[in-house]
């Protein structure tokens, strides 16, 4: 894992010192709120519905155990003993008090973390495949490139006041687990005809008010060209992007209004200017960074204990079947720790759970932890012989839920329980869906299903790319939930289609049940997933299940 250089450390400490003084000046009245607001946002501090909220970046979702313990310490010392992991691989603390925030930032700096550029119209936290460096299907580990991008984008003088926020995601595998097609820039590693690794560069993806799938502006970008090319994209956007209208300011609108061919031409022209200015220092830096991400010293030991336990213990087997992913080393597994226990808040972990996960990562996971955009925690490198012990420890702490990839593994934004932008609640809908289908014992029968819930049109909950997406709106002073079907956030990304009129808060869970009962009735076989079935039969049977039943009920 990358460790801060002296430069990184000095930069982060200097920012903490600056912000400490800015808070003092706000509290003594030297700064007005209008003056202070952009300063606090630059440091990740929002004012939400009930309290302040501090958003801390977890670069490309990677944490070491010491950092995870420090997050637990912050939660206990200055917050309410828990943290919320987000779809941007950040952690949010929901209850900090303004005078305490400088101390929190100091505590973060102590473990090489910060909240810089987690808000504002700049390049935000660069996100990556949460299985990076471990996945069996990977071409190369994307984290060194993500770290290079982090260093390049942090405090980059040209890109601190972009037309709007800017999100970059990167994956090193052909199977896209980082939703790259829904980012301002998506980078997907591919190989060219000669077998060399490079990137497919996608630009102008994004969800929110105007959801769009990114367009490919380069089929193959040699890895040495990464920084100048990304800089060219930002440079073109910085010039063309609409500063006159907040709702048209994202690069997806720029791409749409300029046209894919023309914007590609402009990016290539700018790239031709910038490329000669990169003299190779970026590549030397990348080589150094790459050393920091060298694979761990994998243990060579028998896995018989795992096989025996798997055969003997049905509870362990159920967990292994859903929560493990193939590792590049056949003796190892990638463990996804579900933060989606039925009825709990998706993405939340208590300080005790954070400490346990840190301990387990240290003991069994080569001291590596990841946060996924799906709001779970990953131990990317666990030897199979350690899995039974690990599973037992997780289960004791309420972290052994066997539901990854299933109905209750729901993405939900904080919604109107916390967020001041929200138009409806998300969390209780997720909780109710999980407990309802758990009680019906239908979750495993339904199988692979991604439900994603956003509490407003900004789509932090990625509802557009959920197999079933739920969007909470305010319709004439009442919470109302709109359903989309058929969304997909992978390499075959698609924006879901709206079913029709929305449903009231008390009606949304029964509505989802009608959709899923329709699916169970029409699927060809148990292995046909909801998404596959939807692609085969289209919207009509689900519409009928949703609305015909409803009108029949109304008539009754």
């Amino acid at each position: 894992m990358y460790s801060y250089s002296d430069f990184d450390d000095a930069f982060v400490r200097a920012r903490v010192a600056q912000f400490t003084q800015q808070v003092e000046r706000r509290l003594d009245g030297s700064l007005t709120e209008e003056e202070f607001r952009p300063l606090r946002l630059m440091n990740g501090l929002y004012l939400q519905l009930h309290a302040y909220m501090l958003r801390v970046a977890i670069p490309y979702g990677s944490l070491n155990p010491g950092q995870m313990r420090q997050l637990a310490y912050i939660a206990d010392t200055w917050d309410k003993g828990y943290g919320h992991f987000t779809t941007r691989q950040n952690i949010q603390f929901n209850w900090p008090k303004l005078p305490d925030v400088p101390a929190i930032l100091g505590a973060l700096a102590d473990v090489e973390m910060h909240a810089i550029q987690t808000s504002g119209n700049c390049v935000r936290n660069v996100t990556a495949d949460h299985f990076a460096g471990a996945a069996a299907d990977e071409i190369a580990d994307p984290r060194p490139y993500a770290e290079l991008l982090r260093q390049w984008s942090t405090d980059h003088p040209e890109f601190q006041f972009l037309p709007r926020k800017f999100k970059i995601a990167i994956t090193g595998a052909p199977n896209d687990r980082a939703v790259t097609r829904a980012h301002d820039i998506g980078l997907r590693m591919v190989r060219n005809a000669a077998g060399e690794p490079g990137f497919e560069v996608m630009v102008g993806g994004g969800l929110g008010r105007t959801p769009m799938i990114g367009v490919t502006v380069r089929e193959f970008l040699p890895e040495a060209d990464l920084l100048p090319y990304v800089e060219a994209v930002l440079s073109v956007y910085n010039t063309l992007g609409r500063r006159d209208n907040k709702y048209k300011a994202r690069i997806k609108i720029t791409v749409h209004e300029t046209g894919a061919a023309e914007i590609t031409r402009m990016i290539e022209a700018r790239f031709a200017e910038l490329r000669p200015l990169f003299g190779g220092n970026d590549q030397r830096l990348l080589a150094d960074i790459r050393e920091a991400f060298a694979p761990p010293a994998f243990r060579n030991a028998p896995t018989d204990a795992y096989d025996a336990f798997y055969a003997a213990d049905p509870v362990f087997r159920a967990w292994a079947d859903t929560n493990l992913t193939a590792h590049r080393n056949a003796q190892y597994a990638i463990v996804t720790i579900s933060l989606k226990a039925h009825g709990e808040t998706p993405g939340d972990a208590t300080s005790a759970q954070m400490r346990l996960m840190a301990d387990l990562a240290e003991k069994y996971g080569h001291s590596d932890l990841r946060i996924s955009h799906e709001q779970n925690v990953i131990l990317p490198h666990v030897h199979k012989s350690d899995l039974p012990t690990l599973h037992a420890a997780l289960t004791q702490a309420g972290l052994g839920t066997a539901n990854v990839g299933l109905l209750s593994d729901i993405i939900a934004c904080p919604g109107m329980d916390y967020c001041s932008l929200a138009t409806a609640r998300s969390i209780p809908v997720a909780q109710e869906l999980a407990t309802h289908f758990e009680a019906l014992k239908l979750e495993h029968e339904i199988g692979t299903l991604k439900i994603k819930i956003s509490g407003c049109i900004n789509a932090c909950g990625h509802h557009h790319v959920g197999h079933i997406g739920i969007l909470g709106l305010d319709r004439a002073g009442v919470e109302n939930y709109q359903i989309t079907l058929g969304g997909d956030g992978t390499e075959t990304a698609v924006i879901g289609d709206k079913t029709g009129p929305g449903f009231a808060y008390t009606e949304i869970v029964p509505a989802i049940e009608r959709i899923l009962r329709a699916y169970l009735g029409l699927r060809l076989e148990a292995s046909e997933t909801f998404l596959q079935a939807f692609r085969r039969v289209g919207m009509d049977p689900f519409k009928a299940a949703l609305y015909d039943a409803e009108s029949a009920q109304d008539a009754a």
């Binding site: 009245g29 709120e33 004012l47 009930h50 309290a51 929901n94 900090p96 969390i427 919470e479």
Partner: protein
């Protein structure tokens, strides 16, 4: 003809703690919605909002929120304001916990 003025309360968040507060008729900030001054006149509402916004060392983001009279005092009319009177629905945190004892 202009629309009839909907009664309002002045609400904000405390600068230091972030807690939701309401402006009372006695110029105090109360954590209880029912203790807020229910403002029935538009011009008076603007005056009270200016008064609130001037308290830069105490509160942040003051605004007028719709309300209606109730047996204990003003009540919120919109669900967002109702949530602000108690806290999140997923944990017993915020006002619902702080004011319970």
């Amino acid at each position: 003809m202009s629309r009839r003025f909907t009664p309002k309360v002045v609400t904000a968040n405390l600068l230091r703690e972030g807690d939701v507060v309401y402006l009372t008729a006695e110029d105090l900030w109360s954590p209880h919605h029912h203790e807020a001054e229910l403002i029935e006149d538009e011009a008076h509402a603007q005056m009270r909002l200016l008064h609130a916004a001037a308290q830069k060392l105490l509160v942040v983001g003051a605004y007028l929120a719709d309300a209606r009279p109730g047996p204990q005092g003003p009540e919120p009319t919109h669900f967002r304001e109702e949530f602000r009177t108690r806290g999140p629905s997923n944990y017993n945190h915020g006002k619902q916990a702080d004011l319970a004892h």
